[in-house]
Symmetry: C2
Subunit: 372 residues, 2 copies
């Protein structure tokens, strides 16, 4: 069995998402105001001599990864993972291929654990006043979400209501948001705070102590993750579980240092950095330490990880960023896919995809009609 | 897809292996002297509603594991692993089923890394004088083995040449064996020593320092593994890499403590305690720490682990216990299997099985003719 080619399919689609001046791309106000615009989308196809292909949504592989893969056995994911230094794009193609080849969903190849997982809603950051956040949290709880994660203000000035640099942040206003939400949803709803690495140590300590009082479930990525020392101090000095790192590459090896140095209380990972192969190694590491792991977001790429892991290690599923009046967008697939990755079951769970491979079905008619 | 039954096949076969008075079963002298005797052998069959079964060689599952499995999806290995508290017998049946169902060898399901692995010969313990060991090591090197692991004297008095209690051991005589072997094979051959947990701390320290001088590759399981503290001291005080634990159950969690407490320089594991699922989690843990892992023995159960892991984590394959005049026995399968798990390639490697599942083919005619 051999990989014969990696083919790129490029086509156009529309999006409403804009980039921000300061580099953080999810400003709901700008986004909701912006007109849909046309962007170029790419799907890669791992072609094999078996007649079955694997697919993944992303740019073409770099030339050396491409060259490494051609002629190799597509089933040898472990070998290719090590040789490619954990390349995520190749790993995702290989997993989708394997599932399609064996006609089974990837979470079953990994050894299935569950077919659904408890779900939480994450807020967009910078949605408005603390009351706007509280309104939205209440709305999500009414819709059946079992927990709510706040992204308060980031890359944003909550007084001027306009983009701002990452630092200095606005920790007092962030705490006001957390207070307003806790007050509104009551004590029984699980709440988390994710500030996407914007605070310095003192700001993180202040916010951490405040949300410890508010009985938050975790405090995610409060500070930049390229410096581990302030995380160690934060874990020592706040009682709310500190969760991270998210954006540190080189899984699972980078996570080992964070665990050993007690720089987090809960781990975090996702398929994006070193693929499903790297992420599953990382999950095994967290499990070995009896440490909870949280996964960044949904996406077809993460779904098998949720489906093949136990509930004591990964408890909640993060279903994208929501904002008032905008949440229906998550119930529709992009125009080139036939379904969404994470349908709800009406009881606060999302369902793990059960179709072969990563589970998505590509609308090839759409692609043919919109090829670049 | 459901597990409908777990069926037991019981039949007779012959063996020459005897148990010893003191509980360690591998005495070559007794064994070579003993007449073949008839024993009862059992193969379990995991029956599913797919028409495909999984098989494993071992006694019937305990009633509660059996009851747990019936009606469940056999693909949900991860779920069943957690619910069964890592039961190995069930896990092996599930892996063999999965491979047969998908018509692929288990190491490929796990994400293949290699199809062969460097091989070492292990000596039987208590083979005779140090010269007998040296003769045998030389013979193994001539046959193409790339390394040689010594089991010197254990549960055995090397002066009286008869069974003896585990402790006190005979460390000076063990060192004489190591010296004789090193002298005979020269400095370029990789040598290891495994003393199967017989020493106290002082004995282990004495032997460890001696084989450090003799440039041994690892010192395996020198002391009982139910006490971790002397291992920590040994790692601090000898330069030869200390390798273990082997027989501590509850993978991968038990290994975490050994790593964290610096009780070993190299890890050890195998399928027997918590199945391939547990062992692969453990290997991910060792890999995350950049620590080498060694696997106890061959067997169809371990072969997929060798085939799906990288050479920096697991470098050598252990091909059973050898003794002069007795090594051909390893080239023949037991009468109820059609092949051996680990054929040699003539260049010091063993080949990973490539047939579906764990790779063994059962000789059903033999079983039918010898059913109990």
């Amino acid at each position: 069995m051999k990989i014969t080619e990696i083919k790129s399919h490029e086509f156009t689609a529309t999006t409403r998402r804009m980039s921000s001046k300061y580099g953080y791309s999810a400003y709901p106000i700008e986004m909701l105001q912006s007109e849909p615009r046309e962007i170029s989308v790419q799907i890669q196809e791992l072609v094999t001599d078996t007649g079955t292909s694997g697919y993944w949504m992303g740019p073409p592989l770099t030339p050396w990864i491409n060259q490494l893969a051609i002629g190799e056995d597509p089933i040898n994911r472990e070998w290719l993972w090590h040789q490619s230094r954990g390349n995520s794009d190749l790993d995702m193609l290989l997993w989708d291929f394997a599932g399609r080849y064996f006609e089974t969903p990837v979470h079953k190849l990994l050894g299935g654990y569950r077919d659904k997982i408890k779900c939480y809603a994450s807020s967009f950051p910078n949605m408005g006043s603390p009351e706007v956040f509280a309104d939205h949290a209440e709305e999500c709880v009414k819709k059946g979400y079992l927990a709510y994660k706040i992204h308060a203000y980031m890359y944003w000035d909550p007084f001027k209501m306009e983009p701002a640099p990452r630092s200095p942040a606005f920790p007092k206003m962030d705490v006001e948001v957390c207070k307003a939400v806790r007050e509104r949803v009551g004590d029984d709803i699980v709440l988390m705070l994710d500030q996407a690495c914007i605070y310095n140590y003192e700001e993180a300590l202040y916010v951490g102590k405040a949300i410890e009082e508010l009985n938050f479930f975790w405090f995610e990525s409060p500070m930049p993750e390229n410096i581990i020392e302030p995380y160690i101090r934060l874990v020592e000095n706040v009682g709310v579980p500190v969760c991270g790192p998210e954006g540190v590459e080189n899984l699972p090896y980078s996570r080992t240092s964070w665990i050993l140095r007690k720089a987090c209380d809960m781990g975090r990972s996702e398929f994006k950095y070193n693929g499903i192969t790297g992420c599953m190694k990382t999950v095994a590491l967290y499990e070995s330490f009896g440490m909870r792991c949280t996964i960044h977001g949904g996406n077809w790429g993460n779904m098998p990880i949720y489906g093949a892991t136990n509930h004591n290690t990964i408890e909640y599923y993060e279903r994208g960023l929501f904002a008032p009046g905008h949440d229906e967008a998550y119930e529709e697939p992009p125009p080139y896919l036939k379904e969404i990755a994470d349908p709800l079951d009406g009881q606060g769970n999302v369902l793990i995809p059960q179709k072969p491979g990563l589970g998505f079905e590509i609308d090839w008619d759409y692609i043919e009609n919109n090829r670049v």
